[in-house]
C-alpha cells in the first residue's frame, strides 16, 4: 500500500500534530517504508486464531468503590502550564 499526501495530512490532523507540507512529504516516504514492513502480516493466514491482547493469564482486578488517596490537586496542578482557581486554563472554546 501507499499513503497519499492527503492521507498523511489527515492522520496528522487526527493525531493533532501540526505538519508542514515538507514534513508531510518526508513523513509519507518513511511511513510507506514502514507499511511495507507491516504488510508482511497480510500474507499470513490467521483463520481461527484468537487475538491476544495481553500477556497470558492476566485477569483484570476490580477494587472496592471506596475513597482511596487524598486530594492532591495543588500538587498535581503545580506542573500545569496555566491554572487559575484550581482550574486548568485553555483557550476559549464556547463563544
Amino acid at each position: 500500500m501507499s499513503l497519499s499526501l492527503d492521507e498523511v495530512r489527515r492522520i496528522a490532523w487526527l493525531a493533532r500534530i501540526d505538519t508542514s507540507d515538507a514534513e508531510a512529504e518526508a513523513m509519507r516516504a518513511q511511513l510507506n517504508d514502514i507499511f511495507d514492513l507491516i504488510g508482511q502480516l497480510q500474507r499470513v493466514s490467521t483463520e481461527g486464531v484468537e487475538p491476544m491482547t495481553h500477556a497470558e493469564g492476566l485477569t483484570l482486578r476490580l477494587r472496592e468503590d471506596a475513597v482511596s488517596g487524598s486530594d492532591e490537586r495543588k500538587l498535581h496542578q503545580s506542573v500545569a502550564p496555566q491554572v487559575e482557581a484550581g482550574l486548568y486554563l485553555v483557550p476559549k472554546v464556547i463563544e
Binding site: 487526527l14 500477556a55 492532591e72
Partner: protein, 495 residues
Amino acid sequence: MLNASLKELSDALAQKKISSVELAQLFLDRIGRLNGELNAFITVDAEKSLAQARTADARIARGDAQPLTGIPVAHKDIFVALGWRTTCGSKILSNFVGPYDAHVIERFNAAGAVILGKTNMDEFAMGSSSETSFYGPVKNPWDSSCVPGGSSGGSAAAIAARLAPAATGTDTGGSIRQPAALSGVCGIKPTYGRVSRYGMIAFASSLDQGGPLAKSAQDLALLLNVMAGFDVRDSTSVERSAEDYALDLDQPWPDGSTAKPLKGLRIGVPKEHFGEGLAAEVEQAIETALKEFEQLGARRVPISLPSSGLSVPAYYVIAPAEASSNLARFDGVRYGYRAPEYRDLADMYCKTRAQGFGAEVKRRILIGTYVLSHGYYDAYYLKAQKIRRLIAQDFVEAFKQCDMVMGPTSPTVAFKIGAKAADPVQMYLNDIYTIPANLAGLPGMSIPCGFGQGRLPVGLHIVGNYFAEAKMLKVAHQYQKATDWHLRAPAGIQP
C-alpha cells in the same frame, strides 16, 4: 569501589570502609568528569542524592540496613520521581518535575538506595540507539563514535563507564536487553506484570516492563528483589508471593554437580535466530558461549520459533497503536510544554505536539493513529494481535522441549552514531530477536559473552518461561562464575 559488585559495596558499607555519602560522591564526581562526553545522564542533583545518602548512613549506623541501603542507583528518566525533573527524553516534558514517586522509585527509596540521577534515553523509549533523545545522543563507552543501544542507553552506558553501580530501565521491544548487549552489561526484562508500571511513563502498555541493568546476574537478582512486587495501582500487576531471586544462585541446576553445575539444563537454540542478517562476529561469540554452557553440563536442543520472523511487523502495529493512545495525554493542558503561540484550542494541541515531540515519536503516533482509524482496525490491529498469539504459541511449543531459549540479543555489535538514523526500518530490525519475548510477555535477559571487531561487546540473549527469572539468573550466574566477560570494562574508562 568502581568495579565492586553490589554485595561488595553492601559489605563495605556495613564494615564502615566507606560511607554512603562518600560512595555517592565518588560516582557524582565521575559523572561530573565524564558525562559531558558520554551524555548518559539527563539530570543530576547532587544535593538530593547526598541528602538520601546521609539518611542511608544513619540507617546503617542504626543497624537497620537492607542489601541495597546506601547504594547509588541511576534511574531511567521514564520513572517519575518526586521532586526530580522527569523528561522521558522529550522536550514535551522538559519542565516536568515529578509530583509523586513511581512504584519502582518508592521501592528503591524504601530499601534505602540512593537516587544517583536520571539517565538519558530515546524519546518516550522509542528507539534502539538512544539517539532520539531531545537531550542529545548517548555515546557508547567502548567506542564513543558508536551508539550504546536503546532505549535504556543512558543506563547501560552509565554502568559500562562505571558512572553508576546499577540502574533501572524499561523494555517494550528490547530496550533493556539490546543496550545491555551493545554496552557490555547485564539486563533483565522480567515477566510482564512483575514490576509495577505505576509512575513509569507509558509507551505501549501491553508490552512495557521495567527491569534492572547491572554488571552481573547476581547484582540483577538483588535489584529485582527490590523492584518486583505487587502493586494495586497497576491493573496488570501480578499477585504472587515475593521471591528471593538471589537466594540460590550458587546452587547447581537440580541434576547438576560442582563440576557440571548445569547438568540437565536443556538450552533451546532457535534456528530462526541464526539466519540472514546475523553478523558473523556475533554468531561466533554466541557459539562460543553455547559451548561454554555445554562445558557446564547443559545440553543444546535445536528448536524452531516459526512465527518469530513476523514479530517486528506485528510489533510495529501493536506498539504504535498503544503509543498513539497513551501519548494523547500530552496536549499542553495538564503538564509539560505548551506552545507559546496559538489561535484556538485545536491549534494549541497541534502546535504543542508538533513542537514538543521529536520525529520518531511523531512517526509512531501517526502509524498508530492510522492502524486504529476507521476501516483499518481489523486489517492491522486485530491481525497483529492474532499474529501475536502465534508468536506466543511458538514459545509454548519450545518450552515443551527445553528449559531456556538462547541466542544473540542483537544481530550486530554497536553501530556508528547516525548510521541508521535516517532509515527507520533498518533501526527497527535491531530488535528482531528481543521483540518476541515482549509480545509473549516472557522474561528475557542479556549478558556479555564476548567481543566483535573493534572490541565491541556481544550479548547473549536468554528467554525463560513465565516467572522463571530466578532460574535464568541462576543459569547466568553459573556462566559468570566460569567466565569473566561481565568483568571487562572499556579500555578508555579508567576506574
